[in-house]
Amino acid sequence: MDLLSQIWEGSGLNQLTWGQAIMIGVGLVLLYLAIARQFEPLLLVTIGFGGILANIPGAGIAEGDGLLHLAYVVGIESGAFPLIIFMGVGALTDFGPLLANPKTLFLGAAAQFGIFATLLGALGLSELGVFDFGLREAAAIGIIGGADGPTAIYVAGRLAPELLGAIAVAAYSYMALVPLIQPPIMRALTTEAERKIEMVQLREVSRLERIVFPLLLLLLVALLLPSAAPLLGMFCFGNLMRECGVVDRLSDTTQNALINIVTIFLGLAVGSKLSAEQFLVPSTLGILALGMAAFALGTASGVLMGKLLNLVTREHINPLIGAAGVSAVPMAARVANRVGLEANRHNYLLMHAMGPNVAGVIGSAVAAGIMIMLVGD
């Protein structure tokens, strides 16, 4: 009968390509990592499921007027979703530890070396013929080293949308792998004595300082680096809503309903870029390798900057907290705390590591602004 043959022709069994089958497998692996291993579950559950949906043969969910493609166009091509997430992250961020010890901002600056070194590496390997990345692609890959999901998605959406799927997967996967990636590097670059350094208790930070800081940061961005203003502007807005104390209902909604809704659609939209044609290509391996390098280099430069600061300032810091400068909030700060406790079981570095941790968010948003200005036409 005609209808039955039509049903057979429309079926996945008939239409499924090897690429789609493999990508559905990749989606299932991401779900496994998210659910069983708790790898950044908020994003990897949604990205992984979106990836499966995008590879259902013939369903067209990630093309044309399919829901995932609509979400991509509305939310990622426009830049709106990562910016709204960044506003939510701002509303969830406590700048107190950073304000109590502003020099930890230098750690967040140093850790961005991973971004730029990886950019350079991607261009170098392309010149050697190993990969084939142009300047825009290299910049988007480097930003994986910022260890900050919305920043990476925002930059990739602007500079190299065809790599967005792989970049987002790499960024969130390595953020989840921070407890495996960072400790060996941290131990290799520090002495036992350095890891034992105890830090003085952080001072209390007044409410007024907390309110003024996001405005100060906004004004500096406006004066020095306007191309970072969309990201850091929304970040500061979220943080001001949190701290100002007069719009708590807006701040609560931003930290809950709004960020959750946008996370769901952001993840599905990112998943829509996990098509076989775009993901099952050699450059994905390159992105994964380079992204790992970016994390490792960022960690190393953060730790080394910690040691350098100890040479020039009076009040010593434990260089382990430099590793938290890559961002990966709050995982990297917890790792610094854990490695510190191994060396000295009375040494709680968590609060001290939160300073460089949020400094790393600012640092990679600044790096993103530079990239967008210099590389994005």
């Binding site: 950073l98 304000l99 502003p102 020099k103 901002l105 230098f106 967040g108 600056a109 961005q112 070396f113 971004i115 730029f116 070194a117 950019l119 350079l120 991607a122 261009l123 170098g124 010149e127 300047l135 290299a138 910049a139 930070v205 007044s206 007024l208 300082e209 003024v212 800081f213 100060l216 940061l217 500096l220 020095l224 680096l225 400094a359 600012i362 640092g363 600044v366 790096a367 530079i370 990239m371 210099l374 590389v375």
Partner: protein
């Protein structure tokens, strides 16, 4: 490749300049606000010293 090197240098320079300015501005901001709010503010001893200084100043200056 050379372009990448330039980008790296310009990029890291900008990151460091930006965050250094931010460190400076934050330190100044905190100091100014602490002074404005008197927080943690001068201790009782400091107040005594200041009061004494003012009185000495007044006592010494016939021009005021």
């Amino acid at each position: 490749m050379v372009q990448g090197l330039h980008l790296m240098l310009a990029g890291m320079a900008t990151v460091f300049v930006f965050l250094s300015v931010l460190v400076g501005a934050t330190v100044v901001m905190s100091r100014v606000l602490m002074r404005l709010q008197g927080e943690p503010g001068p201790t009782a001893d400091e107040v005594a010293a200041i009061v004494a200084a003012i009185e000495r100043h007044r006592a010494s200056g016939p021009d005021r």
